[in-house]
């Protein structure tokens, strides 16, 4: 028999990589006007995996996001994909990875899921820290960079088979991870934190009936104060700047000149 799973997933609101992102002239951040936002693509993979697990094992999925009212858009998107309900930690202002991990830890203590599945990082500032902090502070096992052996064109993917394998007793999870030079497998005792890599699955579209259903699914509001978490940033961003634009190339007449320039100007050989 299969044991029902309660799975908590995250849905961070991030800038759509297709929008043109400009840094403010004073370097205090990016220009928000005209930007589009979406759910962090790694989190979307986490949502997909949770939905597949719950389709197999039964149980419940809960999605969490932290931010102002605008994160409802991402919570609704996850619920349109099929997540059952949402938790919104209402907070505006900067947050560092420790504050986020601290808030998620408290939400996990409150919700008591069997597994928390998060994106391995968010595509806005690519820190790749929250899942690790969270597991450590909760005293849970962790399996980062979850992936799978099967390709995204495989039959297993097409039939939406979950890649995470829960043990027959419902007390462990086996996770294939991306590691340098290949894949490795770890087994964790549940509850555990799993963070997702890119090739874990191909997230589904939010079906249009799902978008309508998501309207009536509940969003519970929490606050950092209510959760008892001090979110004052310990990490301060001093300045943001765009990468220097690429300089135009030059043509050299022959190999000798090229070698000479590589030595004296570029100083790479």
């Amino acid at each position: 028999m299969l044991f029902p799973m309660k799975i908590l997933v995250t849905a961070k609101r991030v800038e759509d990589p297709e929008s043109k992102i400009k840094v403010k002239p004073d370097g205090t951040g990016i220009v928000p006007e005209g930007l589009k936002y979406k759910i962090n693509p790694f989190d979307e993979i986490a949502v997909e995996e949770a939905l597949r697990l719950v389709a197999k094992h039964k149980g419940e999925t809960v999605v969490v996001s932290i931010g102002g009212k605008e994160v409802h858009e991402q919570l609704r998107h996850a619920m349109a994909m099929g997540v059952d309900r949402a938790v919104w930690v209402n907070h505006t202002g900067p947050l560092d990875q420790m504050a986020i991990a601290g808030l998620l830890k408290k939400v996990c203590e409150k919700e008591k899921p069997d597994m928390a599945i998060l994106g391995k990082q968010s595509i806005d500032d690519d820190q790749n820290q929250v899942g690790q902090y969270m597991a450590e502070w909760l005293g849970w096992g962790q399996a980062t960079f979850a992936s799978k052996h099967e390709s995204l064109d495989s039959d297993a993917e097409k039939s939406k088979t979950p890649a995470l394998v829960v043990g027959a007793d419902g007390k462990t999870v086996k996770v294939v991870r991306e590691v340098d030079g290949g894949l490795g497998t770890v087994e964790c005792t549940l509850p555990a934190v799993v963070t997702t890599d890119l090739r874990l699955n191909q997230p589904r579209y939010a079906p249009l009936p799902g978008i309508m259903k998501a309207k009536s699914k509940p969003i519970e509001e929490l606050t950092p104060a209510g959760l008892g978490v001090d979110v004052a940033p310990k990490l301060t961003v001093l300045k943001m700047s765009a990468p220097a634009p690429r300089k135009a190339g030059i043509k050299v007449p022959d190999v000798a000149t090229l070698m000479q320039k590589l030595k004296t100007e570029a100083k790479v050989i």
């Binding site: 006007e33 349109a80 064109d153 191909q202 939010a206 009936p209 309508m212």
Partner: protein
Amino acid sequence: MSVGINRYKCDLRELQFVLLEQFSYAGLAGKAPYENWGEDELKAVLSETYRFAREVLGPLNSVGDREGVKMVNGAAVTPKGFREAWKGLYEGGFKQLAVPSKFGGQAAPEMLHVAVEEILSGANIAFNIYPGLAWGVGELLAECGTPAQIDAYVEKVFNGKWGGTMCLTEPHAGSDVGAVKTRAVKQADGRYKIQGTKIFISGGDHDMTENIIHLVLARVEGAPAGTKGISLFIVPKLKVNADGSSGESNDVALAAIEHKMGLNGSATCTLSFGENNNCYGELVGTAENIGMSQMFRMMNGARIAVGLQGLSLASSAYLNALEYARDRKQGPHFSKFKDPNAPRVAIIEHPDVRRMLLELKSTTEGIRALVVKLAMHRDYAIATKGKDDEKAAYHQGQVDLLTPLVKSYAGDEAYRLCGQAIQVYGGAGYLKDWPVEQYARDAKIFSIYEGTSHIQAMDLVGRKLGQHGGANFQAFMNDINVFVEAQRAHPAFGKEAEMLGRAAEAVTQLAMAMLGWSQAEKMDLLVLNANRFLTMMSQLSVGWLLLDAGVKAQAASIRLTKGNQESSFYEGKVASALWYARNVVAGIRAQADMAALEDDSAEKISDAAFGGS
């Protein structure tokens, strides 16, 4: 996952402007019968549809064009990936968006439906024709079928379990539908035996569904001649068993698949009904000889869909050409054309390329506004029905009046604009490396199928202008006059509003002249000028709606800092409005002057004088 590359582009910001800022979606949202449909749902649906379009349908567009549909062992085999796309389309609920909830759909407003259809069509028009026809069959049977027929067929063609077609054309009955020869012979059990050949049947056979429901125009023995003797029949590809499952063959044979200029992924079939005397159909509804009016319920929707197809390709052609023009460097700026060392510039910096791009931009935006306006009237016609009959009649009247404009102007312009997009690319656009040559080939059919442009023009001047004693046309002109009066003194658009007013007078004058011609038995002049009139009225509508958008965009941009993305968007709307007014609306009067010449040389010239041999 997919084999090709997506080329489809759509500007969601522009779609949202038209729906939310120009035509008040908010006036419909959240109210009966659209209680569940708010702005958030609209935005979520558009962005998810666009994603599906880019990731699933778009990559299959060139695949369908190159592979085409093959006939294997008497059955049509669709291009690689189409079957999976069909499954994804219905699993995602994209095609059930506007289906009534009693048939398992989402009952969305028509305004949103047309925007979603623009995206689905634009990404892969050849593919989208198959589910589009199934949808049409569902809509027709929901309205004209008996309760038993509704039970048996409607939900299955709406949810993609079964496909559908409309079978009108025969070798000798194209535009002249009344010449249909397919025979229906009533049997003792009430069914009809069907025998005949139909050609040009889109989606006539394919491998994406287990069954296909054909709606076939045929003549019952002894029926009156012409369109008054035509009945409509439900003829499934496979006989439907008592339990609703698909059974044995119903003797509908695929005789051929056409080789076409474009839309190669769409199966255009010759179907042979009853070759073995074993093809049975049931009459739609309960009465014979009303097939034409039944079919026209499907035709009106289909005509709007053709307008949408034109819009969708022209718009993607524009956005692709725009991207290319920003990227491609060629020649110096014209101000430095004598300097051989001047830097090469992106071709978007050349004035004539800018002119072409702005024409593409403004015309597609104006056509989109026209399509959404029509959809808005449909929504309000439904929302006010039974509550305010006068309003409902006004809205329905505008739907009727604008349908031939949408079908024909969007359809005709699409081919011209796709050609213009190729011109922006230069030689590269003529190559299959870029999407625009396929767009142009795919777009040519829009001025032909579902009633040629001239049939639309005759529908407009022969039926729609005089409908309800001319009330629909008068209401339309009145709306324009109200706009002109309100904006005459506008600091940015006043002159253009005046120009629009004069163009409206010219259109009214020609309408009066046509009335005069028909009373003076000069029908040839009426027919010769019908297409011209349709074009003039379309340009007037588009010019009006673009100015309306420009006024709204300018007002919205005042609070924004110049140069950011949003203010650039609004600046673009203003430019579209001014360009179209000064370069197209300004020419409407000249067309009226031409019509006033009462030139009938095309009628007078003898056949021999056309020359040739």
